[in-house]
Amino acid sequence: MPKSVKESTGDVSRKTGFRKFSDVGISTYLMLSPFVLLFIVFSVYPVLASLRLSFMRYNAICNPDQSPCGSVGFGNYATLIFHDDRFHKALSNTAIYVVGAVILGMIASLSLALSLQEDTKSNRILRVIFFLPSVTSGIAVVLVWGWVFRGDGVGLLNAMLSVFGVHPIEWLATTWMAIPILIFMSLWGGAGFGMILFLAGLNSIPAMYYEAAVIDGAGPKQRFRYITLPLLRPVMVYVGITGIIGAFQIFEGVYLLFPTSVGSIGGLRDMALMIVPYLYDSGFNKFRLGYASAIAWVLFAIIFIVSMINLKLTRSLEDLK
């Protein structure tokens, strides 16, 4: 019997190429084909096209007499990396934002999950309340925050502070406050989603580990340090990487809360300029589509490298498998 199994598996493993393809059945591929076709047309092709554009001067009009499009080699990348001060500003702002939003977001999510872990009626209600911002329209939420942080006496926060005799604070016009405000908005909107993931992770940890630790005399801090955190590592890696990707792509908050009145985006002194709004500005306000594509690929490279470092540092590749 074992022999037949071995033969059978050996037989399957030797199947390659067309035999393997045909064994799955043509109907499988036919059913997959609508998705594959749409995926190729709307994802693969645009991605590859943007890679090509990133090496070009391209404005989509490409009038051969006035603004010919053509290859610039690594020119767009060289300009971005060595000469574009606004890109450097966007990069540094984004880096600060990502570090703050991801680290504080994970701490907030984990704290909420630990606080609401016990399955009681009140905790279930609170979980829903904390999760609600994650399913609310991002644009609507940002507009509401705009009213909260209005800098005159009409702003909600200033109106509340005025009760205590505090003069109106120019929340959105004070340079150093821009990124903390964006981080705070990200925590409010994203901590609930992370909480759900951490709750799932916490509930998957077998109770016997904690029981054994209690018998061995471990206190709450030791149980958290030596049981909870190590066993939550796969969830932390997932929350961390998705958080990093999401944070690098911040757009609505900057676009709606920190516009400038003429010809720019990013607020006073570019205090809230981030990479994706800058990409949008270059691509769709100035129509420098080749340059904007280069920004997109630099962003991709940064996210890829940071995610790989994250995976390596947490040594969780095996856990993810």
């Binding site: 989509a60 016009a173 003429v262 720019s264």
Partner: protein, 418 residues
């Protein structure tokens, strides 16, 4: 045999459709116009379209509104797709920028430029033609003029008897408003802490962004003096920074919370249509340095013809554009504009007289200000320099840089884009 029969039937049907098309269909033409702005702007344009339709039987003018925010991107996207409007109105600098990309038709070749040039102030026409360019991609459609607005009672209560004409008068008036307890003595609505807001102060103190040959001049001594004065609005006279107060200054001026507001003539449009029962509004030219002219920033919209439009469409578009400077057409546009609280200010100065809604003193102010107003520079790279210039100016307005250092930084940005 069956296949041949099917092909024969198909050919017969196509031929039937082609040859039975009414003979007069070729004579019917539709001109599609994109009007940048809101629905009121589109309604004003429709009034011009109606006049054109009446004068040209068989022609339909289709007007669609596009928003300011993404209008430029839409125009370029239309140019890339070679599908969209025949004509569009948009920012004064769009013509140079989109024209240099090859998106627009040369209005000189269509006979529009030569027709319009003598009718509008030279400095406004110049703002739409690229430096040393032999082609004209846009001509002025309407104007937005930077002006000073206030409530007569508020100034009177503060002991100010007339609108400040000089910068010294303005500083004294703003100080009096502050002393009188006006919460926000000065408010910049249009171009707040931006190059646009700074523009009128710079030019009214004898400075400029570039000279006539497009050499950068923003960082000379006049520029430094103007920027130092501009900063006073924020440090001494309580002008709110961008993002602090909302954009609507009318109610605040009316209630005496704001003293003097700087904005475009669209505010006057609002005062004398929507708020027409309130009689204390006043508008005045922007203040100037002693011995200098009051030079207001002039914005507004240019009008262009898309390069992909067929020759027939381009000629029709050119014919339509020429009518927009006709006094009777402008009058129709202003009647609709007044009903929509959006008065149309023609670039032909004398056409301002067709605006019935404005009191005589406001019309006089607008007409006198138009004569010396300046549009945005037509120098290469200005469009791409704006963001960098604004950031540099703000490093002095709200940062630690000196005025000279900030302007040197702005000049470096402008030179790098030339």
């Amino acid at each position: 045999m069956k296949r041949l029969g099917a092909i024969a039937v198909a050919i017969t049907m196509i031929a039937g459709v082609v040859f039975n098309t009414p003979a007069n269909a070729a004579a019917k033409q539709t001109l599609t116009v994109w009007a940048t702005g809101g629905d009121a702007d589109a309604a004003v344009m429709k009034a011009a379209g109606k006049a054109f339709e009446d004068a040209n039987p068989g022609v339909t003018v289709k007007v669609e509104a596009i928003s300011w925010g993404d209008g430029y991107a839409k125009v370029l996207a239309a140019a890339a797709a070679k599908k969209g409007p025949d004509v569009f109105t948009g920012g004064l600098s769009w013509g140079i920028s989109a024209g240099n990309k090859g998106a627009l038709a040369d209005l000189r070749a269509l006979g529009v430029a030569n027709y319009v040039q003598p009718k509008v102030p030279a400095q406004i026409y110049k703002a739409l033609v690229g430096y040393k360019s032999t082609k004209v991609y846009a001509v002025p459609f309407d104007l937005t003029l930077m002006m000073m607005f206030y409530d007569k009672t508020t100034l009177k209560n503060a002991g100010i008897t007339s609108a400040p004409a000089t910068i010294d008068d303005f500083n004294a008036a703003a100080a009096k408003l502050k002393t009188a307890g006006v919460a926000t003595p000065v408010y910049n609505e249009w171009g707040n802490a931006d190059w646009l807001g700074f523009f009128s102060w710079l030019y009214s103190m004898g400075g400029s962004l570039y000279d006539a040959k497009c050499n950068v001049t923003i960082n000379n001594s006049k520029g430094v003096a103007a920027l130092t004065q501009y900063k006073k609005l924020y440090t001494d006279f309580g002008a709110p920074k961008p993002g602090v107060a909302d954009w609507s200054m009318n109610d605040n001026i009316k209630q005496g919370k704001y003293g003097i507001g700087f904005s475009g003539n669209f505010q006057a449009s609002s005062y004398y249509t929507y708020y027409k029962d309130y009689k204390n509004w006043a508008a005045a030219p922007v203040p100037a340095a002693t011995g200098s002219k009051s030079v207001a920033f002039i914005g507004g919209r240019g009008i262009s013809v898309m390069g992909y439009a067929s020759g027939t469409q381009q000629r029709l578009a050119a014919k339509f554009i020429k009518t927009l400077y006709d006094r009777s057409v402008v009058r129709q546009m202003n009647l609709v504009g007044a009903a929509q609280n959006s008065i149309f200010l023609s670039p032909v100065i004398d056409n301002a007289d067709t605006i019935d809604a404005y009191p005589a003193d406001v019309l006089k102010t607008i007409k006198s200000q138009l004569k010396d107003a300046q549009g945005p520079p037509n120098c290469n790279g200005w469009e791409d320099s704006q963001a960098g210039v604004t950031t540099a100016l703000q490093s002095f307005l709200f940062g630690t840089a000196t005025a000279k250092a900030a302007l040197d930084e702005a000049a470096a940005v402008m030179k790098s884009k030339l």
